[in-house]
Symmetry: C2
Subunit: 235 residues, 2 copies
């Protein structure tokens, strides 16, 4: 990765015309740390593009480095090509933390952390940058994994489209805490209210047929826990 | 809900020009059952709209009934209003089931089930339809919940925008199973490969301050298990 994306580092991604959180504005954050923390915990984003004036939203894996999100796909990937050709693309990442059950149906909610980011996208042509982005993506999902794999061949790199999405403007939105019922509902008899936490938990790993190597510690240590227990801080 | 949406029931949502799965076409499904099963397991979608030719993607809760997805927000919700005013909106739902660690970095993948749906959206004006949609949304996330809550008041219904998204064309895409390495990589020494399952697990519930009612059985039974253990079949 060239260093230029770091030199563009900015303290805040907004608010701008596309990212000002209007509804429940107190939930909005625009500082890089808040935006990056959410992007670095998730690994599936939803990429939006407009094709002939009509929206198309597709899930994509990603990794963040500086103000860039790297996405990848087949060379002919239509959504990535459209994003690269357009002036701006939109990427959305949502982490759901809990269900919030209020006394009133109206105040039911979800605790979540989400990011919506806007910016231009460009194809990555350098095979060196492609390789580091793809290995970073592997390590983003399972830290330490790329060192334990067969590295991409020049042919595999040619057979992969890597798209560099530059975060130009972004907002984070966070809801946490318990239900926020109306005062007159607090005394309702027989109505339970509270928070139901949700966690993305790693189950028992299943070795592929013919694998005799023991499960590496960086994978074994994930089992039974949250996928990303430790916040991963990156530049 | 009026019955008309059921009379439009169709055996398949595609493939059409917007939904034909081109890359790895064998992963594509277009039948209603496959699409509905994924939509009924998820509860967060990503809604895409185009604003002045630029894409905007935002997370939304939803519930499916027949060929309709109900979304909701504040009356002034810009994305919902834009979706209603446009000829077509796009809704994407993605469930991540496992990380797939191959011997080669190139063949690393994710097991997932996703739906991309296109269609027109319209505001719901009938307060009766609004109420049933909102209660259905509560029950979609926690089955049995709506009966244990204070129902929406006329004022709360007026303060909620409910948008009806009609699934006109849709595709499901499913990847499952283990890594698909190249034959020459199968003999690589010391490289572990396999599947790391991920599950959305319900943690210990946290009652709100002042709640003396015991945790209802429909909530207590969720704890420690997958949020949606049983496939929920609906019309």
């Amino acid at each position: 990765m060239s260093n230029d994306i770091f030199s563009q580092a900015q303290p805040s991604y907004g608010p701008g015309p596309r990212t000002q959180v209007r509804r429940l504005a107190e939930r909005g954050r625009y500082d890089r740390d808040s935006v990056h923390a959410i992007l670095d915990e998730g690994f599936v984003c939803h990429l939006g593009v407009c094709v002939g004036g009509q929206p198309v939203v597709l899930p994509q894996l990603y990794v963040r480095q500086g103000d860039v999100l790297y996405l990848h796909g087949a060379p002919a990937n239509s959504a990535l090509q459209t994003a690269e050709a357009a002036k701006v693309a939109c990427v959305s990442v949502t982490l759901v933390d809990a269900l919030v059950l209020a006394r009133s149906a109206f105040h039911h909610s979800v605790n979540y952390r989400s990011v919506v980011a806007f910016g231009p996208a460009a194809p990555v042509s350098s095979s060196k940058e492609k390789e580091q982005a793809l290995l970073a993506m592997v390590d983003h999902v399972v830290p330490g994994r790329s060192a334990g794999t067969r590295r991409p061949s020049p042919q595999e790199l040619r057979a992969t489209r890597v798209t560099k999405f530059h975060i130009e403007e972004a907002s984070a939105k966070i809801r946490d805490g318990g239900p926020k019922d109306d005062p007159e509902d607090l005394a309702l008899e027989g109505v339970w209210a509270g928070v139901v936490p949700l966690e993305l938990i790693v189950g028992a790993v299943v070795p592929d047929a013919g694998v005799s190597t023991p499960v590496p510690s960086y994978i074994a240590s994930l089992a039974g826990g949250r996928l990303h227990r430790q916040p991963r801080r990156r530049p």
